[in-house]
């Protein structure tokens, strides 16, 4: 279903694996260029399942437009690196006032838009207002609504005043594209500052980018990129097998990997995504109001076996909502780990010695039905009966997300840094812990990122111990590429696919 909402959950059409971040941090990129010269004028073909809806990320462009244009065509004041850090991009420098409410940004010199216009503070102001504007559909709109005022004392200075402290402000700015304030029809064309210009977008088919000669930074390592869009994984894999594309941004069909794994013409990389498969309890509905019941269910399910059966060796186990690429990650897989004896004891203590029955609302697309069947058989061993109720993404949204009419559900959560949802007692899973809510608020108002990280680590540990949800596993982020290719991003931190470091051997 649902493209913009795929930030929270996905459907068969808007599958949710967040893609990849780049490149700039360390040499963790797909395959090192194993010697040999590369062709500076090569065109790289990228195969993807996520076509943009339109080209404006504040007008419902969706995951696809982030993948194709973020970092490639548009740049922000800051950018996210592959290991989840934030670094300066169009911002040369910035200062924060003592009270943490005023941010003063100095813009980089010599930056030009593709139209030839020089970047000024007006463009930054315009771009920020576009994200928080009335009609904005940006996923970061609510985070950036702390902006109270934007001033432009001179052409290269932007002064932003916040209504309250927000330690994530700079991080959130990495999602804001700086657009030429005079640009028109941004839904079908572009005017950014990135290393590529848009050549042509043919809806339903492909989107091509050309290297921008006037780029302020290091020029792209290839002459251009063409994103080819497919509706199903088989067509995508066929395109890679017939060299119609050089790289697939996110492999969604584990069964298809064998044909690439044992073939020297291809490289398969197993990176970290931020997509978590959750068994989300309704913490406000019996029997899941009782922490012991939630812990028991978590301990009764062998996550390792589930991951193995769905992804066969790929992916990672997680003990909480936090994936390794979030700054407050800690390995918590030992908390409420698989232990059926413990599960039985906890159930007995909670007064459910004879077990109980609950309905599991299960979205009708992979991997949820597989996971539901597995969970049902696992919980049967400790005396819990699961009734599987298969629903469409639309029903999920209405029944579970909006009306909270559920006992437990399965859902994939794609965003990075989304632990903070546990601080919102009104979120659909109904986890309500005053202490956790306070920690989340304090973390956002923290003076330093170190203090923020410390507080969110506490949140992480507390929610894990409380089994606020059962985090079944972290999806793998699998990129498959032709062996001629190197320098492509392999980790899935966001939906981005920075293409400018991709080298292709002739």
């Amino acid at each position: 279903m649902n493209i913009t909402k795929s930030a929270l959950y996905g459907g068969a059409t808007a599958a949710t694996l967040a893609l990849t971040l780049t490149a700039c941090g360390g040499g963790s990129n797909g395959g090192s260029a194993s010697g040999g010269a590369y062709d500076k004028n090569a065109t790289v073909g990228v195969g993807s399942l996520y076509e943009p809806q339109n080209l404006d990320n504040t007008a419902g462009g969706g995951q696809g437009v982030t993948e194709a244009l973020a970092g490639n065509v548009y740049e922000g004041l800051f950018r996210l690196t592959d290991d989840g850090k934030v670094e300066k991009l169009l911002a040369q420098d910035y200062k924060v006032s003592g009270d943490g409410l005023t941010y003063t940004f100095t813009l980089r010199d010599g930056v030009k838009f593709h139209s030839g216009k020089k970047l000024t503070s007006q463009d930054v102001k315009y771009s920020l207002e576009k994200v928080i504007g009335k009609d904005s559909q940006s996923a970061r709109k609510s985070n950036l609504e702390v902006i109270k005022d934007i001033a432009t004392p001179d052409a290269k200075t932007v002064k932003v005043t916040l209504s309250k402290k927000s330690i994530s402000f700079v991080y959130n700015l990495s999602y804001v594209w700086i657009v030429n304030s005079e640009a028109k029809s941004l839904k079908t064309s572009e005017d950014g500052t990135g290393p590529y210009t848009l050549n042509k977008w043919t809806r339903g088919s492909a989107l091509s980018l050309d290297r921008f000669a006037g780029y302020w930074g290091r020029a792209a390592a290839n002459k251009g990129v063409v994103f080819h869009y497919y509706k199903n994984a088989t067509a995508l894999n066929n395109a890679l097998l017939t060299n119609a594309v050089d790289v697939v941004t996110s492999e969604q069909s584990p069964d298809a990997l064998d044909q690439f794994k044992n073939n020297q013409n291809y490289k398969v990389s197993d990176g970290d995504s931020t997509t978590k498969l959750l068994l989300a309890f309704n913490d406000k509905a019996k029997p899941f109001t009782d922490v012991r019941v939630r812990q028991a269910v978590s301990s009764a399910i062998d996550d390792k076996k589930l991951l193995e059966s769905v992804w066969g060796g790929y992916g990672k186990l997680i003990g909480s909502m936090v994936p390794p690429t979030d700054p407050w990650y800690e390995d918590l897989t030992k908390v409420n780990a698989y232990d059926t004896a413990r599960a039985k004891k906890l159930l007995k203590d909670a007064g459910y010695g004879n077990g109980f029955t609950f309905t599991l609302d299960t979205p009708n697309y992979d991997p949820h039905p597989t996971a539901a069947t597995f969970i049902k058989s696992q919980l049967a061993k400790v005396g819990i009966t699961v009734k599987i109720n298969t629903i469409t993404p639309d029903e999920w949204y209405t029944k579970v997300y909006k009306n909270r009419d559920f006992a437990a559900t399965l859902q994939e959560h794609v965003n990075d840094r989304d632990l903070v949802w546990y601080g919102n007692p009104d979120f659909y899973w109904g986890y309500d812990n005053k202490q956790v809510t306070r920690w989340v608020e304090q973390a956002e108002a923290a003076p330093t990122t170190a203090a923020q990280t410390e507080l969110l680590k506490k949140v992480n540990r507390k929610t894990a111990e409380d089994a606020a949800s059962d985090w079944l596993y972290l999806y793998p982020q699998i990129v498959v590429a032709n062996s001629k290719l190197s320098g492509y991003p392999v980790n899935g931190l966001n939906s981005q696919f920075y293409a400018y470091d991709i080298q292709k051997k002739g």
Binding site: M1, N2, N54, A139, R203, G204, A235, T392
Partner: protein, 321 residues
């Protein structure tokens, strides 16, 4: 004939108007809210209400309907809820793929089915007549996506002769590449369509072969070939043309599967995406254009039948849809 044409045209317009009402109402009866697709995580009720207002889905149905019909009258198919881009230009660009695909497949299917069906009937007692008949029976049972996958495996993945899918980004500006992209999808549709057409041609031919008029013509001294040509072909073609019209129309609508297997940017894949996203203007636009095409095909089939068979000229035939 002029009077017939006028009446037939009026009939076409009434059908189109009825179809547009049915289309509109049926879509609104589907469960789900398009506004859900347009708001981001954690959107409150007021944001969802704003999204509904922006796309106009909060207005009363009759008002939405008159708005849509008004747009149609001006030749405007409206604006997509999801992309906020106009539907019309996208439909026409998709037709650049779907029309050549459907027509080429149709012609190829007829070229296969007419001789094959005739031989299967006329030579039904020989081994190859029986074989043709059997193969066509088998062809009907083959799912089109499966055949597509087999053809891809053989001719694209193994032999490497043709692309496994996709369509050149510049479309027909690259004619050679465009044609290469369409070969396998055309063959896929043509084989499946040809198989069922062969059955119809065969049974129509069998009817003719056993008919009195053919026997009479032969008794009057006409050679078999001349009797078939003068009498048999005309009579056999009338029911076959009806079927051809239906087959052509259903191929146009059924291209969804083939377009998905071969990753073609056609009308079918646009419809599939529109449905998945509750994008009413897109669904309505695609279905309206397809309905128009189907009605026109029916119209053409009727006309051709009347030209071939003078007996039909006395009445207003609506039997070919």
């Amino acid at each position: 004939m002029a009077r017939y044409l006028l009446r037939r045209l009026a009939f076409l317009l009434v059908s189109l108007a009825l179809a547009s009402v049915v289309l509109f109402v049926l879509l609104r009866m589907l469960p789900g809210d398009p506004a859900n697709a347009l708001t981001s995580v954690g959107a409150g009720p007021e944001q969802i209400a704003a999204a509904r207002h922006a796309i106009g889905s909060d207005r009363p149905l009759p008002e939405q309907f008159t708005h849509w019909i008004g747009q149609l009258a001006r030749g405007d198919l409206g604006t997509s809820f999801v992309s906020s881009l106009p539907v019309g230009p996208e439909v026409s660009s998709r037709l650049n793929v779907t029309i050549p695909l459907t027509l080429a497949a149709f012609v190829l299917a007829v070229l296969i089915a007419v001789p094959a069906g005739f031989i299967a009937a006329y030579k039904r007692r020989t081994w190859y007549g029986a074989l043709l008949s059997g193969v066509s029976q088998l062809g009907i049972a083959i799912p089109v996506f499966w055949l597509g996958m087999i053809l891809i495996a053989v001719f694209a993945l193994n032999a490497g002769w043709l692309p496994a899918g996709g369509f050149p980004q510049d479309g027909w500006a690259e004619p050679a590449e465009a044609i290469r992209s369409l070969v396998l999808p055309v063959v896929t549709i043509a084989l499946v369509m040809g198989a069922s057409l062969t059955r119809y041609v065969r049974s129509a031919t069998l009817d003719v072969l056993g008919s009195d008029y053919l026997r009479t013509a032969r008794a009057l001294g006409a050679s078999f070939g001349r009797a078939m040509w003068r009498h048999g072909l005309r009579n056999a073609s009338v029911p076959v043309i009806s079927i051809l019209g239906i087959e052509l129309a259903s191929t146009l609508l059924g291209a969804v599967v083939v377009e998905s297997v071969f990753a073609l940017p056609g009308l079918g894949s646009m419809l599939a995406t529109g449905i998945a996203q509750h994008d009413y203007p897109v669904i309505q636009g695609v279905l309206f254009v397809s309905t128009l095409a189907v009605l026109l095909i029916g119209f053409a089939a009727d006309l051709i039948q009347r030209i071939i068979d003078p007996r039909l000229r006395g009445r207003l035939s609506g039997g070919s849809r």
